[in-house]
């Protein structure tokens, strides 16, 4: 297939899968099979696209031109391909996991669940491959709306309230700030295309650029930079597969991906390093990293703790952009992949624990590691990767971020990164340690049903992603070489 044809099929496939899921609603096995098959094919398509791509002259697919001179267009570039690869790789794995989770927990409305899931993936694909800011924005909103039924899946009052916070913050920031920033950029420059080196001329007022940068970053609510982070813990009311793929990977990574895209292709690294807002952004992301970690430390609910951990880790990427050095950008981009693999493992484990033992609070999980050794082993691997210890993927992105901070001579940010790593240890390792070392509380686990490992459909995916963390450590140089072009303009000023 030609690259153009591949580009056409990549968004169509998950949309088609959504329709297939609805049509096959009375045949659960066929329905879930469609999702898994679509996920595998999607990954192959993106890999094929990445393999035969001419980066100098990438293919472009124009879907429509809603505003004169401004089209809905898909144009692949390294960063987008990376994001698309991760999301499409994790989609079928998550679906296998979801089959185990949803059936064991007897969740209702499974058809709606899988259909909305597929639409969300389609939107994420279009975000990843967006050729300009308008396309990105359009599918950013599609992603917000298509994940809403997933967040409110339970249909309870709590889910409804969470849904309000979720949609309110995501749409509020995107319409209030992001759209404004976009139209402002358009009226200043007459283009929203992602352009290497940025779209603003040298004569643009730097004060205005600072305001614009803040509007872009705060408008991207999905990046969960404080103070617009509350939607992410709220979204944890969703079933765990949703939290795993969407709120550790697709949705939140779409947010930081947007921030990286805007930094690299709308502003340009050189422009950012010259404006005052870069410092504000450094301060804001540094604050988010530390503050979210401290909050995570105090959360007893496992999913809430992981959610705050995600908020903290997302700001690593924003920090990488604010550093405005090539290593910072590479570290930030790489962190999208590394954190995705580690955090999805952690969420898989949280869901497996819930499925097997119906426990959600960490304080109740003492001794579970002894009866669920595989789950807890994977949890430990994921945790170590998120902390950033070798031989796991997370160590590389932190390394590059540290190098980037050193390049920018931001000693304070080096300190933030190191303190944050310590905090990560403090809130993630005890979860595993309590599982292995503390004995079960007296009187617990002696009911009629002994706690065992979660079903195989849950167990296999979490082993795969834990293994993925290891692989990412080994193949990080390939990732580095792949991402180098996006940071190139800054290395040759």
């Amino acid at each position: 297939m030609t690259p153009e044809l591949l580009l056409t099929w990549i968004p169509l496939l998950p949309f088609g899968a959504a329709i297939g899921v609805v049509l096959a609603r009375n045949h659960p096995n066929l329905r879930d099979g469609i999702s898994i098959a679509a996920g595998v094919i999607l990954f192959v398509l993106i890999a094929a696209l990445a393999a035969n791509l001419d980066w100098e002259a990438p293919p472009t697919l124009v879907m429509a031109t809603p505003v004169a001179g401004l089209s809905l267009a898909l144009t692949p570039e390294p960063l987008g391909i990376l994001f698309a690869l991760i999301a499409s790789l994790l989609w079928p794995i998550t679906t296998v996991y979801a089959v185990g989770y949803m059936r064991t927990n007897r969740e209702h409305n499974q058809t709606r669940f899988y259909a909305a899931f597929a639409v969300s993936i389609a939107a994420a694909m279009c975000i990843a491959l967006a050729g300009n800011m308008l396309t990105l924005f359009v599918f950013y909103e599609v992603l917000s709306i298509s994940t809403y039924p997933l967040v409110t899946h339970a249909g309870t009052d709590k889910a409804k309230r969470a849904g309000r916070v979720y949609l309110g913050l995501l749409m509020g920031t995107s319409i209030g700030f992001l759209l404004l920033a976009m139209i402002w950029t358009w009226s200043l420059t007459g283009t929203l295309d992602f352009t290497a080196g940025g779209v603003f001329g040298d004569d643009t007022d730097s004060g205005m650029l600072s305001v614009l940068l803040m509007l872009y970053v705060l408008g991207t609510g999905k990046a969960a930079v404080m103070p617009f982070h509350r939607w992410l813990p709220a979204a944890m009311v969703a079933p765990t597969p949703v939290s795993a793929l969407l709120h550790a990977v697709a949705v939140v990574k779409a947010g930081v991906f947007t921030v990286v895209k805007v930094s690299v292709y709308i502003f340009g690294i050189d422009t950012i390093s010259a404006i005052a807002a870069a410092d504000w952004l450094l301060a804001l992301s540094g604050f988010t990293i530390i503050a979210a970690s401290v909050i995570a430390l105090n959360k007893d609910n496992l999913k809430a703790r992981l959610a705050y951990s995600t908020i903290s880790q997302l700001s690593y990427v924003v920090l990488g952009c604010a550093l405005a050095t090539s290593m910072g950008i590479i570290g930030g981009s790489m962190h999208i992949a590394m954190h995705a693999m580690g955090k999805i493992t952690l969420f898989f484990c949280a869901g497996a624990i819930y499925t097997a033992a119906h426990k959600t609070e960490i304080s109740q999980m003492d001794g579970l590691g002894r009866v669920m050794p595989i789950t807890y082993g994977a949890f430990l691997i994921g945790a170590l990767s998120v902390i950033g210890l070798p031989p796991l993927g997370g160590s590389w992105s932190k390394w590059f971020l540290l190098v980037g901070a050193a390049d920018a001579q931001q000693m304070a940010m080096i300190a933030v990164l190191l303190v944050s790593s310590l905090l990560n240890v403090a809130y993630l390792v005890p979860v595993a340690a309590r599982g292995f070392y503390r004995g079960p509380p007296s009187g617990a686990h002696t009911g009629h049903v002994a706690i065992r490992e979660a079903p195989l459909a849950c167990l296999v995916p979490l082993c795969l992603t834990a293994f993925g963390c290891l692989l990412l450590f080994v193949y990080a140089d390939a990732l580095y070489a792949f991402l180098l072009p996006i940071a190139a303009p800054a290395t040759t000023p």
Partner: protein, 494 residues
């Protein structure tokens, strides 16, 4: 002369002449059929007109062969052809929808006469747009208004009578003001033809009479288009009118009033006089903004869905006024574009609410409980229409918002741009009340007999919803026409 040359008058004449026919046959089904056929033919004429003027040349049609400026001239340019397309298109879809809805809401003996009145209202609106004569505007305005009072008062709820009476008082004051304004202009120029007026007014522009005439006209038109704070008649009229009437009026009547405002301020008086010498630009912007925010805020607290959407209409009119007040090509483009886009979204929403009224019987938020299960297609249409109202891409609402915000930023009015976006966020609040009621509240006990609306209702609803999505992606036609029309309007005044 071939039939094609008569299109400018046919588009008005078809509904006007079919109205007495409805009364003569006086049978429900035949009345409906006549109304539907008349609307469809009128729609076809409007399409023909748009194709004829698409090249940029306006059509001048002399009524009875009397040459302007003495005779009455029908003048179709791109803007009027575009608005005619909206009015006739919406009328056709509403007539299609009306069959079941009207049977359920109007006593059988009055149905044929109801269609006659609806056709008259339609003919009046089409006439306002088609004519090139200022006094003729007043005549058609009265035809459409009187017919509207009648159809509104036929609502099932007895409060419809009161609402129609309120509208009657306010509407008559508005029409009187317009008449006085036109009178003043006639006094100073001796002509009623719009083009002639536009040519003669600059000489006498600096007189108190013309300024007074301008003020009377603006207030009068402001009353008809429900400009804040002259909008008080609208919520009740929309809430208690029969469903088909609400959908028709919401999607056309205020739009035609906006058209009249555009015509008078930008073409007859000229942008330089209206928005430059007179402070109308500031007034429109301020009132537009206040209307946009306050009406949206009021909408958030409504329980009756039709009232909620009515207040939302007042807010949306604020967007159009703001666009005109910007006094730039982009602003006027945004206003004209929003005439079209808002007709699509409100048409879809009010028709869908009408379908709910048909099945459930009432349209308070409580009646919407559990609707997602019982009427999935109708509810989905409401959600999509609501998203368009909010301005979520890829819907038409997004395109309108894009041009409006672009217009404000072009003039460096970024606080206004921010307020426009805050207005959209208020729309999220009131639309989401509907969504939550429809999908999360359990259906009230004993109400599970309701099911999906008949296809004759779903078809027009989903045609409009489809248009909301289609024209949000492929915007060549509306944006192209709006840009050209705005260029012509703003250009003519400078």
């Amino acid at each position: 002369m071939s039939l094609l040359d008569h299109l400018p008058v046919l588009v008005v004449l078809l509904p006007l002449m079919s109205a007495p026919l409805c009364v003569l046959v006086d049978r429900p089904f035949a009345g409906w059929l006549i109304a539907l056929v008349a609307s469809l033919l009128s729609f076809a004429s409007a399409i023909g007109l748009l194709l004829q003027v698409g090249g940029g040349d306006a059509i001048s049609y002399q009524l009875g062969g009397w040459a302007p400026p003495w005779g009455i001239e029908y003048r179709i340019d791109l803007l009027s052809a575009f608005v005619l397309l909206i009015v006739t298109g919406i009328a056709s879809l509403v007539m299609l929808f009306a069959r079941h809805s009207v049977t359920a809401e109007i006593p059988e003996g009055r149905i044929a006469r109801f269609y006659a009145a609806l056709l008259l209202a339609f003919a009046g609106l089409a006439g306002i747009v088609a004519t090139g004569d200022a006094f003729n505007v007043f005549v058609f305005l009265e035809i459409s208004s009187l017919a509207s009072y009648a159809v509104i008062s036929m609502g099932r709820d007895r409060r419809a009578l009161n609402a129609a009476f309120e509208y009657l008082i306010m509407g008559t004051i508005g029409a009187t003001f317009i008449l006085i304004g036109i009178g003043f202009l006639y006094m100073m120029t001796g002509t009623l033809n719009m083009l002639d007026l536009a040519a003669r007014l600059p000489e006498v522009a600096d007189t108190r009479t013309v300024r007074a005439g301008f003020a009377f006209l603006t207030v009068g038109i402001g009353l008809k288009l429900a400009m804040f704070p002259l909008h008080l008649w609208l919520p009740n009229a929309y809430a208690y009118a029969p469903s088909a009437v609400t959908a028709f009026l919401a999607a056309t009547a205020t739009k035609v009033a906006v058209y009249v405002l555009l015509r008078f301020t930008l073409e007859i008086f000229g942008a330089e006089f209206s928005l430059g010498a007179m402070p109308l630009d500031l007034i429109l912007m301020a009132l537009g903004l206040i209307g946009m925010l306050s009406a949206s805020l009021v909408a958030v607290f409504q329980h009756n869905v039709k009232r909620l959407l009515a207040y939302s209409s007042v807010a949306q009119i604020g967007y159009m006024l703001l666009g005109i007040g910007l006094a730039s090509t982009t602003g006027a483009t945004a206003a004209i574009l929003h005439i079209f886009n808002h007709a699509l979204m409100k048409g879809a929403l009010f028709l869908a609410v009408g379908a709910v009224a048909y099945r459930i019987g009432a349209v308070t938020l409580r009646d919407f409980a559990g609707l997602g299960q019982r009427m999935p297609w109708t509810t989905a249409a409401i959600v999509l229409g609501g998203l368009s109202l909010i301005g979520v891409p890829p819907t038409v609402g997004f395109i309108s918002k894009w041009y409006l915000v672009l217009g404000t930023l072009e003039q460096g009015l970024w606080p206004v741009a921010a307020l426009v976006l805050i207005g959209s966020l208020l729309a999220v609040l009131y639309i989401w009340k509907l969504v939550e009621a429809a999908y999360f509240e359990p259906a009230p006990a004993g109400a599970d007999t309701a099911h999906e609306a008949p296809w004759s209702m779903l078809l027009p609803i989903w045609l409009l919803v489809g248009a909301n999505l289609y024209f949000g992606i492929d915007t060549d036609i509306p944006v192209g026409v709006a840009t050209q029309a705005a260029d012509a309007l703003i250009g003519s005044g400078r």
